[in-house]
């Protein structure tokens, strides 16, 4: 099906970087923004983060309590479904392992929920064993609101829409169901290395 585009040469990444680019992605140096609506601004005094089960909240932290949890520094490549990738981004956040530690459940999936009614679904195993965080700092600075601050989910091995901005909690589920973008045609799982951008990819 592929057709040569007459006269197209393109701008290639350096070979060393190209190996780190999933198919169909290109490198950027800045940090583009993608969101469906206005940027929410929740005051830190009102901010909470909760782990919810099917019968209600299992655990909840205020901003102060949340920030008192042991945090980790993260260096990761991120890949947006709109095709940009950014290498070696640095974050600080709380591991999901830490947030779920000691909570009894039989969940298989998680729905991350955010201010502005944004949600994103992720299989639980994709959040465990040091693969995902709730990040509150980017590049050594508090996370800006337009990039999801005060805190966003960070799941760098999936397309970046899964790293829900303005995240306020995780709902534990015993099944998978589509979140916000997943209901509007985007892939239910979103592995950039298998180029799972849209339904059916």
């Amino acid at each position: 099906m592929t057709r040569i585009s007459r006269g197209f040469r393109g701008k290639r990444a350096k070979e060393r970087e190209e190996a780190r680019l999933p198919p169909g992605q290109y490198l950027v140096d800045d940090f583009p923004v993608l969101s469906a609506g206005p940027t929410p601004h929740t005051a830190l005094e009102e901010w909470t983060f909760s782990i919810d089960g099917d019968i209600g909240t299992l655990r909840s932290w205020s901003w102060e309590e949340f920030r008192a949890l042991p945090s980790e520094e993260i260096r990761a490549d991120i890949h947006c479904v709109t095709k940009w990738s950014k290498l070696d981004t640095t974050w600080e956040g709380i591991s999901i392992d830490t947030l779920l530690d000691g909570i009894e459940h039989d969940a298989t999936h998680v729905m991350a929920f955010s201010d502005g009614d944004y949600t994103a679904n992720v299989p639980l195993e994709d959040l465990l064993d040091g693969k995902a965080w709730v990040a509150f700092s980017y590049d050594g600075q508090p996370l800006e609101a337009e990039h999801g601050g005060p805190a966003r989910l960070l799941v760098p091995h999936l397309y970046f829409w899964k790293s829900a901005k303005w995240v306020r909690g995780l709902r534990l589920l015993d099944h998978d169901e589509p979140g916000f973008w997943e209901s509007y045609g985007y892939h239910i799982y979103g592995d950039p290395w298998r180029e799972q951008r849209y339904w059916g990819d």
């Binding site: 592929t2 585009s5 006269g7 800045d30 206005p38 709109t82 940009w84 973008w181 990819d201």
Partner: protein, 250 residues
């Protein structure tokens, strides 16, 4: 049968470039004949994929400018100085070339003419493109609700679709079009001459009491500031739909 089997799945297909229209010095519309086009809704976009002779490929997303009613698919593309795909589409592509694309993509930033609420469109630069699909869709249907477009361009010459917007707004029931020119203005210009701000929106946007729905599209700082200003004016957050064009979008 093959079509039915892939319903809901986006497959790469080929469109033939049938015409190119220079909208401004940096913006071009590409009229495509896409035999397999499944149809789209106003506000959606497509992915375009270019392939070099050695197999290297690059993909980007572009908004659809044509309404669902049109036989031809139209993409309107702005040439970005550092872009990889947009300079090719605006500068190199010719009539008769085949362009590989898939879509339509996106189901949130869409408007149907069956919607009854007053429509507010706020565009910055080439952010007009998906909103133009909505205005063309509106013009092709019978709708009783009003529409307003607040459109920010750098200069008179940079206004994309200028003449068509004049025609649309002059037609009975047509949208009210409010321009602001942020860098240079023609002599005797009496319109707005600054970035869209809360004061401009307070004067031009439907009041929240009219229960309007707003679509905002443009560069990220534009969208951030317009969307925040609309919320401050009293627009409920779910009534403000946004689409941002990153500086590296193409």
């Amino acid at each position: 049968m093959a079509r039915a089997a892939v319903l809901g799945r986006l497959i790469w297909t080929l469109g033939e470039v049938v015409e190119l229209i220079d909208e401004t010095a940096r913006v071009r519309s590409i009229l495509l004949d896409v035999p397999d086009w499944p149809g789209h809704r106003a506000g959606q976009h497509v992915d375009v994929r270019l392939t070099a002779e050695d197999g290297y490929q690059a993909q980007r997303s572009f908004s659809i400018a044509s309404p669902p009613e049109d036989r031809r698919l139209v993409l309107t593309v702005e040439r970005l100085a550092d872009g990889e795909v947009s300079p090719y589409l605006v500068g190199e592509l010719r009539a008769g070339d085949m362009l590989e694309l898939r879509g339509p993509i996106g189901g949130y930033f869409v408007w149907e003419s069956s919607r009854q609420e007053p429509l507010l469109l706020v565009a910055g630069g080439s952010g007009i493109v998906p909103l133009m699909s909505m205005l063309r869709h509106r013009a092709a249907s019978t709708t009783a609700s009003g529409a307003r477009l607040v459109y920010s361009s750098r200069s008179w010459e940079d206004i994309i679709y200028r003449e068509e917007l004049e025609q649309l707004s002059a037609a009975a029931g047509g949208p009210q079009v409010i321009h602001t020119l942020t860098r240079t203005q023609p002599p005797a210009w009496t319109g707005y001459a600054r970035r869209v701000d809360g004061a401009i929106l307070a004067e031009t946007a439907w009041p929240p009491s009219a229960d309007p729905v707003a679509f905002v599209c443009g560069p990220t700082p534009f969208v951030e500031s317009v969307a925040s200003a609309l919320v401050l004016l009293g627009y409920p957050v779910p009534r403000v739909k946004t689409e941002r064009f990153g500086p590296t979008g193409g």
